[in-house]
Amino acid sequence: MERERLDADVLIVGAGPAGLACALHLARLIRQHNESGCKPELSTEGIYVLEKGRDLGAHQLSGAVLDPRALAELVPEFAKTAPLDTPVNDDAAYFLTASRAWKLPITPPPLRNHGNYIISVSKLAKWLGGLVEQAGVNVFTQFAGAELIHEGEAVAGVITEDKGRDRDGKPKDNFTPGYELRAKITVLAEGPRGSLTKHLVEDKNLGGLNPQVYSMGVKELWEVLPGRIKPGWVAHTLGWPLDSSMYGGGWIYGMQDNRVSLGLVTGLEYHNPRFDPHEAFQRFKTHPFVRRILEGGKLVRYGAKTVPVGGWYSIPRTYLDGCLIIGDSASLLNSQRLKGIHMAIKSGMLAAETIVEALRAGDRSAAKLSVFRRKVDESWIGRELLSVRNFHQSFQHGLWRGLAHTAVQFVTGGRGLVDPMRMKAGYEQYHKLDGAGPAPPRFQGDGVLTFDRLTDVYHSGTRHEEDQPCHLHVLDTNICVNRCVFEYGSPCQYFCPAAVYEMVEEKGGRRLKINFSNCVHCKTCDIADPYQIIDWVPPEGGGGPNYEGM
């Protein structure tokens, strides 16, 4: 097909903290370079940012507690204009049993958050995006990177998704083929499990020592009765409703105007294939400790998103000819501190520095761009990630052994008892079912404190053009109906926090029904499907959740 072509110097895929920080810093460095009179002259007009969301920030979801370290480097005067919501003034960690909450006598150092801010990462992205546009960079919202363009060994840009195809893939009246965006350097800042990054890492065998492992966070934003929670109060929980074999925990953050951000993060490496992370979060809210805060309040927004928690040993090769991988896509997240936004921003800045040097030299080879990885390692990102390099892996045999390992790692600077500690991919950790016993009844919710998934999806503001091809490619649905049902009891029905997957019983047998228009773009299915046959590809741009203010 003939496509319209546009040539860029730098193409950044994804307008999250990493991509936007990269664009903003790049624009600044280019200005400085031009002012210095050095040749060749560079232009900010050659920088493009692609974002699949309807608006800037629409697909940004996190807790979020921000360590402002990197933001201060990117925007020194950030405190004046950034949407910071609430400074953290009190933090605590709790261990939950089904009915009790035990406060840990001291808050473990990684969970101490003084000096940090409770923020909406969606608002942060919107604000950063505004600065990026002011700096003269083009940000194209509602456009996704559908496929990478290769030139020999090099990555040479992306093709954006076709618009205006009907459910069978046939062009409609408004059909517009995707653009061919050629770039000297393509930066993949797609967040966790980026659809382009995933295939690039697979095809070019870029994976780190360990495969990437993920957790999934289910979040609700509530407005509660006055006095129920102090703005600036940050609580993290371990234990119930997760059992001690599982990795994860809850969070409750008090924000301005009686708003509460709360959620549950579950490691996508649990054994029971019928475990339902959304249901676990709903149960979490019924714990007296949580219920007390929420009672009388109301649900405002809902969302779910995956988190890469593999850390240091899961970092893929981040540099190729003509391409860099940054932020969550590059595993730059401290799973012990539950923080990645600061590293996303910092990695974007380091990528920008690398790119300007490459453009100046007219050299976009992997060798030239490998400077990026060296910069990461030598920066505080490297030091921070090295010190927790075995943290997540320690929990693969349960909470108690994990905590013991963590203590040893803490005093040995991250080395611990085994270094490097290896880890299997999460989808390999399911235990098979003994035949397909009857499925447990699904969680309903009381409609006041707890909700079913469809009601929650409604509160995510998710919308897709309905008449378009399904963007969740299941490569072989025979596996779903002939094997998965019996071996694992169709976990897609349980792990998806948006009720996308349904195994329907019909006269002729079973059939997998995919309600793609519910999809909140969390990528859990692509990650957690035991046969790895689900391929999440971007739907028509603009579709998806609306996390404004989340």
Binding site: F140, Q444, N515
Partner: protein, 326 residues
């Protein structure tokens, strides 16, 4: 520079976007010295229109008449206009970016081995060329495009890119030159039928006083006629929740809810609809809601004025029977 504007008319009536394109031509012609603008009027018995066009400030009006041009066909227009372009040798051919132009203009340009810059929103004269501006990324950015190679060059302008009321009138009427074109009936491979306007919506559920809506509880497409019959007897329309339309059992324009229509009929009969919030937001304004569902915990009962916990396959025939007796 010789600029030709291909105007558009149907049944002797102007497509008003034609004068926008004339304005574009007049403005472009203002810069390079010695430029002249001609308007091309094409059709059957369109001299009257050509005379109207001649009132504008133009060097000439080219009248292209042929019996086979009475109704628009892509073949007829492309073949006739190719002859016009070959005979008159313009440098620049401007067209309004209409559906018709989208249909034949690429064919016309390609038949002459030329490129076309389509759907432009403006232009910018530069020293030795004209740069045309077209939008990309849904209008977020604009691309400058210009021609390489020798004329003629084809350009179409988006509706609204120029103001039609700014067209300059001539001091005296422009001369009209008739151009003879050779066109054979067998060259035209399509036959236009009656024009019709597609009804925007086959049904307008928002106007129906009574709606009978079905959900997953209907189970199979074979069961839909049951509900359809009931709707007919009640004097209402058939509607559905998303899963039904998603399966293709009913067309999308019958879908009620956040991704479908919002309705507020006098009576809303919900058959086998669970009442997910996505559906409820589209119908909760109904005056009276009657819900029938097997599951007594179905959330639809929270918005229903009357709720019946029953199997719809028992109730629909019963209701139908009662209504048939009346």
């Amino acid at each position: 520079m010789k600029i030709h504007v291909i105007t558009e008319q149907r049944d002797g009536k102007w497509n008003p976007v034609s004068s926008e394109t004339l304005v574009a031509a007049q403005q472009i012609a203002a810069a390079p010295p010695g430029s002249r603008v001609a308007a091309v009027v094409i059709g059957k018995e369109v001299r009257g229109l050509a005379e109207e066009a001649a009132a504008n400030q133009l060097a000439e009006v080219l009248l292209v008449e042929h019996d086979l041009l009475e109704r628009y066909t892509p073949d007829g227009y492309a073949i006739a206009l190719r002859q016009v372009v070959t005979q008159t040798q313009p440098d620049l051919v401007l067209l309004p970016h209409t559906y018709q132009v989208r249909d034949y203009a690429p064919k016309l340009a390609a038949s002459l081995g030329k490129g076309m810059i389509a759907d432009c929103v403006g232009y910018r004269p530069e020293k030795d060329r004209i740069v045309f501006v077209r939008q990309m990324f849904q209008g977020k950015t604009a691309a400058d495009v210009s021609f390489t190679g020798v004329p003629p060059w084809f350009v179409s302008f988006q509706a609204g890119a120029f103001r039609g009321d700014q067209v300059a009138r001539g001091a005296s009427a422009a001369p009209i030159t008739a151009i003879k074109v050779d066109l054979q009936a067998e060259q035209i491979r399509t036959k236009p039928l009656e024009l019709f306007r597609e009804a925007k919506q086959a049904v307008d559920l928002t106007q129906a006083p009574i709606l009978v809506a079905i959900g997953r509880g209907i189970k199979a497409p074979e069961n839909i006629p049951l509900a359809e019959k009931l709707a007919k007897l009640m004097g209402g329309e058939l509607a559905a929740s998303r899963p039904i339309c998603d399966e293709g059992w009913l067309p999308m324009d019958r879908q009620i809810g956040s991704s479908g229509q919002t309705v507020a009929p006098k009576l809303y009969l919900a058959l086998g609809i669970s009442g997910a919030i996505q559906h409820v937001v589209g119908m909760k304004g109904s005056r009276t809601i009657v819900a029938i569902n097997k599951d007594q915990n179905a959330p639809i009962f929270e918005v229903a004025d009357y709720g019946i916990v029953a199997d719809i396959f028992e109730l629909i025939p019963a209701l139908t029977e009662v209504l048939e007796k009346k």
